[in-house]
Symmetry: D2
């Protein structure tokens, strides 16, 4: 499983975002690998209508409908076709009570939660909230080009073990620095159910080639 976080990259916004989502769809269908994309709130409506792969939000606010100027909640992204949302990305950390609120709300709505964490301990903690996915990403490796599965394999192994011990249904992703097929394969060998990546694909010179290489098509 591959989740691509488009972040607020220019290469992952607007027309670029739609194109990249189409590429992801095409590569997913050709390779048989599950690929999903996490896109900007503004791009979400059009992308969710335009591709057959799962589309996620990058963040939701821990609120109901009401007097919350500027907020985007779980019900809202569902209305526009999102499958679920990233929660607590290292660039958008949340308070614990709000992570819990978002995971519960997504579950109630039949949606998928992917909670990002920074180490083994917080991966265990989040697993107790029973999200669908925990995505462990050592912050110091994000955007570094140094793959977590290579540089800190024990973090991946221990994160998987501690997550499953607390909640055996939770799936574990790993992220940070993953750009090459070998990093991805190594992550799966270490027990991860998939990877969460961003710059490795979104900022690649040739996005399609990068993604094809990742799934083993080239």
């Amino acid at each position: 499983m591959i989740f691509i976080n488009f972040k607020a990259y220019k290469e992952g916004f607007g027309k670029n975002a739609l194109e990249l989502a189409k590429i992801a769809e095409e590569v997913a269908e050709r390779s048989g690998v599950y690929i999903a994309v996490a896109v900007n709130h503004l791009d979400l409506p059009v992308i969710a209508k335009s591709v057959r792969i799962d589309v996620f939000a990058q963040h939701i606010d821990a609120v109901e409908f009401g007097s919350y100027t500027g907020a985007v909640n779980a019900e809202m992204i569902k209305e526009y076709g999102a499958k679920g949302s990233l929660i607590n990305h290292s660039e958008r950390r949340l308070k614990l009570a709000d992570i819990d609120f978002c995971v519960s709300k997504l579950k109630k709505l039949g949606m998928i939660s992917i909670v990002c964490t920074n180490n083994v301990a917080t991966t265990a903690a989040v697993s107790a909230l029973k999200p669908d996915f925990v995505a462990v990403e050592p912050p110091e490796l994000i955007g570094s080009g140094i793959a977590v599965s290579k540089a800190e394999p024990e973090v991946v192994e221990r994160a998987v073990a501690s997550a499953k011990k607390i909640c055996k249904e939770v799936k574990v992703l790993c992220g940070a620095g993953i750009t090459k097929r070998e990093d991805y394969v190594r992550a799966l060998e270490l027990g991860a159910d998939g990877v969460l990546l961003a710059s490795g694909v979104v900022k690649a010179k040739d996005q399609k080639k990068a993604l094809e290489e990742l799934v083993g098509l080239s």
Copy 2:
């Protein structure tokens, strides 16, 4: 001038938002009064394409393009047709340096900034940043149904005076509790250039009637 903040109200989201924006457009064109709407990020793309009135975002993040998962910046809302954005709403307060960043960035992009403030002193402070609009809203009156122009007329008068003293081009809106025509007219008499309102229209039983009443069409 009337700015309607749809907030995260169910009555101001999704299909409801598009309908309400159409109502606002129709009332604006029939009455000749300037009416603009501030909508949810997810609704913005479709509404901006569907109506001839100005469409604003309710919030933007103080960042450039880049590694900012979950962020929506000024360039992004421009791409999708927004005229500008509310900044620093009482339900989404920003740090001072970030207000400055957003005002500057919107100006650079030829867009309109509407910075919300909570009292006379912060209205003066924000005016020094030279935004297009300052919208003063005493927090205790927001959503109260008690109009600021009636309950605290001196706040409106002093906010206008102190804003114009610091930057004579800045336009001043007032908000909080405004629902009736007399409150709106009173605001203009007190020197405000317009009003920023939300629940008075968005949560009205009959939104169209509420807006017509406000502009003097009924």
Copy 3:
């Protein structure tokens, strides 16, 4: 075990704080019940030197020594004699990664961590971080005078069960609305190791009497 959070109450600050800490010490020694106090940063140095009961901080920042203007970290409160700190109180919620940082740092320094949570799920999550104590406090009951152990006994029972399942060494406190001995006793019967309270003692007309009543001395 009774932990008294002095908050930023006037009755729990300055000379009042020192007096109240002395009362707590006297009642603790007379009753044999463990009583500790969580005090303001400014009061901490003098109180820690003046009483024989354990003195805690109400909050620490998740930073090391360095360029962090205004920050108070674990090493600092240790230097001044604190036994440990409350973390993530509902009035001072932290991001998950910061809770983890503070718990780890306190452990490393041989200090005690008491992490506040708002429900059963977050109690389980925090237990995975292996703090010394988790203190579950449903936010809607804080300061209400309605004891959590009476109004929501199942929250206490389930919090204890889920915490111990994940980390059997973790001790569980409950809080919110506890003012009377029967609430305290009930909390222990439900499996809690103790209570965290504030206004019930700090804002009592007669603080000493309130505390004596709580421990069964009157």
Copy 4:
């Protein structure tokens, strides 16, 4: 005027803080230059009692007395002998409404407010709140060893001009990268009333010598 921010530096905490405050006092009295120190909350009580120079807090929370676990407000630091507080340091940015709250509260208590800003525009904005001091510090130069008065003299000049235009009583400090006497003198020549510095003195190998050099004693 020289304000020394001890930050959360190990060299500016605990016994080190008291020693450094004594050095500052000694140099101030010997040179006739006004020197004040901004110290950690835990250190404040003992330092304020031990030196004749002005002692400031590094931060205060925008709250009254009440249910605010972990908060330190203006009344509290006054009780322990502080002369005033830094507000909105770049390492502790506040929301605009909270800056206003703190400035007003300090004024009401007869205390001194020093509000930090990041550029000319925010210096002008803060001046409208009528604090005693605005301290402009371009964030990119903080801790850089490159003095703002040397690298960006126009920022200092324009900050002074725009501040005084809006509120002629406000005093302007400049900071960021100031370590040498020539930087300090240059700041005064550019119109600043003084400087706010930190690492240049606090982390100097010989703190006393650094401070003496700064005021022209060596």
